[in-house]
Amino acid sequence: MKVAIIQFPGSNCDWDAEHAVQDVIGLPAGRVWHKDALPDGVEAVIVPGGFSFGDYLRCGAIARFSPIMTDLKNFAGQGGQVLGICNGFQILCESGLLPGALVRNDCMEFRCLNQPLKVENSNDRFNTETLGNQLSLPIAHGEGNYRADEDVLAGLEANNQVLLRYQPNPNGSIHDIAGIRNLAGNVYGMMPHPERAVESHHPCLDGLPVLQAFLQPLLQSSPVEITA
């Protein structure tokens, strides 16, 4: 497999991510159990959505102690491509691979809808040229309210690390932040679910360019034809 999708106890978007990457985009993908090692030859890792360890304590707080996190940190440290979606974003923040934290939605309720988003010019992969100015992606979370202290926020903004902003804001997230990347540009995290917007029966196809932007280094080396 080229794209590994980590399966924690309680992950529930692992199949969805695998389906989008393998069956729709056409890159070999597979699920890797959290107690196992990251297989050799993996070129990108997706930490999928769900309720890892029941979201007990705090979302992502227990998953960060899983055996596979050592491999994941090494992989990211060596420049490997990592994308955290929803609960995966929460896990990346808890494990320190991305800055900030995600807390309860300010409406105090779970929200599931197709969310309009504003695209930021972050880097040569995530920008308005590749993604358009606006897109819509499904969101489904109870704790997607992004928080960070003033210095971190200032750094995120100054370095164009914000990928997507909510428009309008469904959860109280600071600076309307829906997704960010690390400074190096190899670790990405977002609350919206691009894997739920890749097929004709989905609310839209805006998830395809988002996943393609993340997987761009792999797609360049082995171009595949998108049929969706």
């Binding site: 309720f51 489904a140 989905h202």
Partner: protein, 770 residues
């Protein structure tokens, strides 16, 4: 075969060694003649643990003692053996029914109630309701692919009802979202009759290969019996029979009678069980521990397997100390399963559960004979013939008496209702759109993850929820609808139940789906009251006749009786849920119109009946009148037409006429587009000669469809051939106005965006600061 009539040794817990008195028997909900039957079966006096076991197994919930005869009226298989949707596992055979959906795939589905727990503790009650039905589905070997709920509450004006509504919705959201099974919404009604006794019915459907169907039977003498899942506690004891505080020295006053759910545990159990069941030949039988927990799962598997079973309670994982045999056997702790595996292959099961960090304890084995033997601390604490608990439960046919209001409903005259002033049509429409039963339920389903598993094709809010069966790798779509208008069932139980069936099937037809099978949830009052039993009996007859007429069998369901509040029984509420199949993506049809210039066509004729309508409720506060007439032949013609025209690709949108009548139906159809309007006209008032009955009457077998103008003639001809009444109403436009003319007079000129905002904000307004 060993049959012991000698008394059992004393229970190792002295508090259980009590004399079985009349009071104790009554507290266990057993009638004196039922106790006599137990004495005859055993040939000796039961001990307290055994009495507890009989009381839960012979309860209405497990034994259907007041409904079993009635349920036999339902057709359980298809008459047409060539049609799609043949029944693979029939109602009552296993934890859920299974139907064929082609290409070697089957769908397991079932609905179940959790009404009383939700009335006491709405969040946990509703959450564990979801947990229970999901276990019923994956026990069959199926991967759950969708959830829906049928919910009924009192008036949203009441702060108590708001608390229940919020708690139930958040409990369902909490549990289902964590499991990662899309919840496609369902139906929600608000009516005073549910004040103090809400209904929380949960449905789950799952997909599996035919050869993957699992059995809940204990077979193969010597095969080990495993307990998997978290430890057993004292939770849920009160739910099964009587409070545990009378049995133990310690006070149990603070112990909840409602079970506590842990959706994370259930997710682990779901994945572990599916992984275990994918190992060929490993699992012999599997059954979830739902109502009556360990008791029900052991005696039912033994009974189905024509075998004996022996378990040792010392081996049961426990999360509380000092539990006695009565408590362990009757606990309803959640997220547990009983699994029987092939002898010699125990390690294969244990390895799967080790991977998922779950208990897997070998607690007994399958035995020769027919006894269910339970040991605790080295002593036999129960020794009963397993089949006596399942097959020999008493069956009753209760006396019936027709409630007086049914005759009044039949004799009702519409003339008793003042005619509608044409100048107030718009305010009447607004009143209906804002009634919480009719208003948008987005407040509910935006809290449910309906998009997980990548299958959601038609989101909640349309006539039926539709999911693509992507996870099975097949290009088919499963449609689901739930229905039951209690008002009609109250006014005419036979016709009301048929309307519930017809509307449900019509919702599927409007979505382009062919109906396959039914699961029903019969929510009624106390069966010992002749009037309540009359309503139950008539509803079952009506439903059974409709099922037979349409050749749509019932493959499972649930009965919830004793739904009473201060002022009597709830309205009869036989919730009908139906699954349907759509073979091609392009046939998936929605209720909303999204473009101007389409012709709107009324099918089935002009509505003319006002009885039981929401118009009477919202305008005059009345639940009265004659239930609309039911004509199953006309219903069939309408649905055959809808399906055939959708399959031809001619129908752009279809919406059935139900609560609120024609004008509500037309308004709702325009809400999906930005700035859409319509200019419509009807030449005459129709059969009733009344504007109110035409615009707001809830006559059955009607729908509105949107078609391209160039197809209008073809559609008209097709309708004529079927003898289906056809009224072309006019076109959609981009005016944001709904203009309606009746017999040359303008009766409505309303801003669609204003109607939509009233419809969308009604429930959120009620729930603000609640």
């Amino acid at each position: 075969m060993e049959t012991s009539t000698a008394p059992l040794p004393p229970n190792p817990d002295p508090c259980l060694n009590v004399e079985i008195t009349k009071e104790l028997i009554a507290q266990h909900g057993l009638l004196p003649e039922e106790y006599e039957q137990i004495l005859k079966i055993l040939g000796r006096t039961p001990n307290l643990t055994e009495l507890g076991i009989f009381s839960v197994m012979w309860s209405e919930h497990c034994a259907y003692k007041n409904t079993r005869k009635l349920l036999k009226l339902f057709p359980t298989e298809k008459q047409d053996k060539n049609a799609i949707g043949q029944v693979l596992v029939k109602a009552g055979e296993e934890n859920a029914g299974v139907i064929d959906v082609g290409e070697g795939w089957g769908v397991a589905f079932k609905i179940e109630s959790h009404n009383h727990p939700s009335a006491i503790e709405p969040f946990e009650g509703a959450a564990t309701g979801v947990g229970g039905i999901v276990r019923d589905i994956f026990t069959m070997g199926a991967r759950p692919v969708l959830l829906t709920n049928s919910l009924r509450f009192g008036s949203l004006e009441s702060s108590q009802v708001k608390r229940l509504f919020r708690g139930v919705v958040s409990g369902i959201s909490h549990y289902g979202n964590c499991l990662g099974i899309p919840n496609m919404g369902g139906d929600v009604y608000f009516d005073d009759c549910y004040e103090g006794n809400p209904l929380v019915n949960a449905l789950c459907a799952g997909i599996l290969r035919h050869e993957e169907i699992q059995k809940g039977a204990a077979t193969g003498v010597g095969n080990p019996v495993y307990y998997v899942g978290p430890g057993t506690g004292r939770d849920g004891l009160g739910g099964a029979s009587f409070a545990s505080r009378e049995l133990t020295e310690e006070s149990a006053e603070d112990r909840p009678a409602v079970q506590k759910g842990d959706p994370f545990m259930e997710k682990l159990l779901l994945e572990a069980c599916l992984e275990m069941m994918s190992i060929p030949g490993l699992v012999v039988g599997i059954q979830d521990m739902g109502a009556a927990g360990l008791t029900c799962s052991t005696c039912e598997t033994a009974s189905r397997g024509d075998a004996g079973i022996e378990i040792d309670l010392d081996l049961v994982p426990q999360r509380e100390t000092g539990m006695n045999s009565y408590e362990i056997m009757l606990s309803e702790s959640q997220e547990r399963m009983l699994v029987i595996v092939t002898k010699g292959r125990e390690r294969e099961l244990e390895e799967v559960f080790e991977k998922w960090d779950l208990h897997a304890a070998r607690i007994g084995e399958v035995k020769e004979g027919d006894r269910m033997v339970v040991r605790h601390k080295g002593v036999v604490v129960a020794d009963l013939p397993a089949k006596s608990l399942t097959d020999e439960a008493p069956v009753y046919d209760q006396p019936t008496s027709e409630p007086a209001h049914l005759a009044r409903a039949r004799e009702w005259k519409v003339e008793s209702i003042p005619e509608l002033d044409p100048g107030t049509v718009e305010s009447a429409l607004l009143g209906l759109l804002q009634h919480p039963t009719i208003a948008s339920k987005r407040w509910v389903w935006q809290q449910y993850d309906h998009m997980v598993m990548s299958g959601c094709t038609v989101e909640p809010g349309s006539d039926a929820g539709v999911v693509k069966l992507s996870i099975a790798g097949i290009n088919k779509f499963l449609a689901i609808a739930n229905d039951c208008n209690n008002r009609f069932c109250y006014l005419d139980p036979y016709a009301g139940a048929q309307i519930a069936f017809a509307e449900c099937m019509r919702n599927l037809a409007c979505s382009g789906a062919r109906a396959l099978a039914v699961t029903d949830n019969l929510n009624f009052g106390n069966p010992n009251k002749p009037e309540a039993y009359h309503m139950l009996k008539e509803c079952v007859k009506g439903l059974a006749d409709a099922c037979s007429f349409f050749d749509v069998p019932v493959v499972g369901g649930n009965v919830s009786l004793y739904n009473e509040h201060g002022e009597g029984a709830i309205d009869p509420t036989p919730v009908v849920s139906m699954v349907g199949l759509i073979d091609h993506a392009e046939r998936v049809t929605r209720s909303g119109v999204t473009e101007p210039g389409l012709e709107l066509v009324l099918l089935g004729g002009l509505p003319h009946e006002l009885g039981g309508s929401y118009y009477l409720q919202t305008r005059l506060g009345k639940k009265e009148g004659t239930c609309p007439s039911v004509n199953l032949g006309a219903e069939k013609a309408l649905q055959d037409f809808l399906i055939s025209q959708i399959e031809k690709g001619i129908i752009c949108a279809a919406h059935d006429i139900s609560e609120g009548g024609l004008l509500v139906c037309l308004s709702e159809m325009l809400f999906d587009g930005e700035g859409l309007g319509a200019s419509l006209s009807l030449n005459e008032l129709g059969e009733s000669g009344r504007l109110d009955a035409l615009l707001f009457g809830e006559s059955q077998a009607r729908a509105v469809v949107a078609v391209n103008p160039q197809n209008l003639d073809a559609v008209r001809q097709a309708a004529d051939q079927l003898g289906l009444p056809f009224n072309s109403l006019g076109k959609t436009n981009d005016s944001d106005q709904l203009c309606i003319e009746v017999a040359g007079n303008a009766v409505c000129n309303a801003k669609v965006s204003g109607l939509k905002s009233a419809w969308e904000s009604a429930i959120p307004k009620h729930m603000e600061n609640a």
